[in-house]
Subunit: 351 residues, 2 copies
DNA sequence: CTACATATGCTCCAATAGAGCATATGTAGG
DNA sequence: CCTACATATGCTCTATTGGAGCATATGTAG
């Protein structure tokens, strides 16, 4: 890459900061962290693989598998990620895709006025939890423990009305006097859209937007840690999900949002399934990810109609009722038109 | 970010390479390049903003606006990008979104065995070309000059059958003897799916996949430059679009694919339009991006029905026919349900 | 053998979207 | 002024999709 333009960067002469346990003299070089949100579904519960920093201490923060990108060793970013995951969990990653690259200042437990010098690249990996792919370290934890307001499987989570809604509305009001920032959407509207308040529809894909909103409002523990919540009056700040180290919860939010979106238009559910499964098990897995219950007959029709699966010829008998046919993923769909996902149209939203 | 794991990186002691016109002693630090694919539509032609490296020299390679991320100056990645764009083109960027982070070795005109030490983050920006947002440098160039095989506005580009298809089939055959690489899709299938051969449907969103396939097959000038095409027998290699510096063409491919995908489910077309426009102008803009012609009446019905636009009350008379009503974007849709794009269902592909 | 639970097939219907016809209202040229 | 023409715009007809529910099949448990 030609960098003849570097000179315009006007690098400041101030001393560099110690990052990644090393000294860094070049103002244009940064460390890159590779972070993996490894998702599976275990007993109808969507889970993510956690590597506890210190499993014994009580106040230990949850951590995703991660490590620095080392251009000497890693030929590609994804290769580096796989190496770190292998190293830290023993897991041999299957499906993986890049999510996003974050570099905001002060999102890493450092003083906010410090240059980050570190950039986080988040990855989403999907795997089958029940099968042993070499996993030796790490624990599976429900992703709803980190995002309780995302769990709509039973019904609307009470935490929204009880804790989130009133505090966000307060936060939105405090900004009204600042005059309407033309161009950007007003706080109150963002709150309404993100959390589906006042008649707005809940969009299960907006996981990151919701997290960022809560962070911005200082309602997230990480925001306090990062010095974003200027010691507000709400010392009664509620516990909104388990915190994570660094910006890992933000990465996980991105991963959940992407999983929910992608499952609808690409056949990625099957990364979460065993080689053979019943259609009901498949449906339960989708529902674990997306939340709302689906119409069973229509789900079957859609999945079969799209040619996503083929019967193995065998049945699973211990279902408590009529035996269910076993299916397997029809890999040939990948060779056909824009291979679809399990399309689930939104509920008949009257709008 | 906690980097207690850095020690496992087993940094090799070999001398570091000179990258980005500077020395870099730390094996874990890399330079980050911010690259902008700035897209507009000018006279029904989708264009991208190019900053010629050397406008006068004949063999000059096209370059996207780009510059290194400087954590001292740039609070965020996107902020850094905007600063570089402003600096190099005078343009004040409006809509921008991150695309992808690339770090493959040897994609930067360097020897392939050299560590990259530089990571490229690509961004997509949409703007209105006809309006002056401060643009002082750079030229608009049709994106189809870089990707002639993507131009389906008239009909199927001849370059596919004439140049691409035979060479890719040859390339696919050469790999058959290697035994079928289990797990990955066979070359022949990839070729078929990517380019819609042998009855497969053309997916206008697979821009990056197609480019990568051509690169892999050594049919792209950048692949030769990067030393990927081992001086094959085809010294008769055809000119498949204009080359670009570094990995900029790959970034542009990502940008085109994303634009085509996003225009269908988010109201981003309007970033490309003037404040007021006729529905026909809007349709022409969408067609410039997506290619196939749309049914005029249905397009109107969909756009109006989705509440994306509102009439200004005025008409544009110099249309050569009945005057067209002028419309403007109804920004309120952003406050409604998952604000839709201009849904255009695929042609009645019999499948 | 019966009650029950789940699987599975099929029908009905509302909403969506593709396609085309008909009409409105300008410009251009005699 | 009048006519040919071009584009805009409204409306209808119809095929397809997807939401919802009924009916039947085939197991297990007591």
């Amino acid at each position: 890459m030609n960098m003849e333009l570097s000179g315009r960067g006007k690098p400041s002469p101030e001393k560099s900061h110690r990052v990644m346990a090393r000294d860094n003299a070049d103002p244009l070089s940064v460390g890159i962290g590779l972070n993996a949100a490894i998702v599976a579904v275990l007993d109808n519960e969507p889970v993510v693989l956690i590597v506890r920093k210190d499993p014994d201490s009580a106040g230990a923060t949850d951590v995703l598998p991660f490590g620095p990108f080392n251009p000497r060793e890693h030929r590609t970013l994804e290769g580096g990620l796989r190496a770190w995951v292998q190293d830290q969990t023993g897991l041999d990653l299957g499906y993986a895709e890049q999510l996003y690259t974050f570099a905001d200042r002060g999102r890493h437990s450092e003083p906010a006025d410090t240059s980050p010098h570190v950039v986080s690249i988040g990855y989403l990996a999907l795997t089958e939890a029940s099968r042993d792919h070499g996993l030796t370290h790490g624990i599976w934890r429900s992703w709803y423990q980190f995002f309780p307001w995302e769990d709509w499987r039973r019904s609307r989570p009470e935490i929204i009305s009880a804790e989130i809604e009133p505090r966000l509305k307060l936060w939105a009001e405090r900004a009204v006097t600042n005059g309407s920032q033309s161009g950007s959407i007003a706080r109150a509207d963002r709150v309404r859209i993100c959390f589906g308040l006042d008649g707005a529809a809940w969009d299960e894909e907006k996981v990151l937007e919701r997290y960022e909103l809560l962070y911005e409002a200082g309602l997230i523990e990480e925001a306090v840690r990062d010095g974003r919540s200027a010691a507000q009056s709400w010392t009664d700040r509620p516990k909104l999900g388990l915190p994570m180290q660094s910006d890992h919860r933000r990465i996980l939010a991105t991963a959940i949002g992407r999983t929910r979106a992608k499952i609808k238009y690409r056949p990625v559910v099957f990364e979460l399934m065993p080689p053979e499964f019943t259609l009901y098990e498949l449906q339960k897995t989708v529902e674990a990810i997306l939340g709302p219950h689906l119409h069973k007959q229509n789900f079957r029709r859609l999945v079969e109609g799209a040619g996503l699966v083929e019967a193995t010829g065998e049945v699973k008998t211990r279902t408590g009722g009529r035996p269910a046919k076993l299916f397997r993923f029809r890999k040939e769909v990948l060779l056909e038109r824009p291979a679809p996902g399990v399309r689930v149209s939104a509920p008949p939203s009257r709008n």
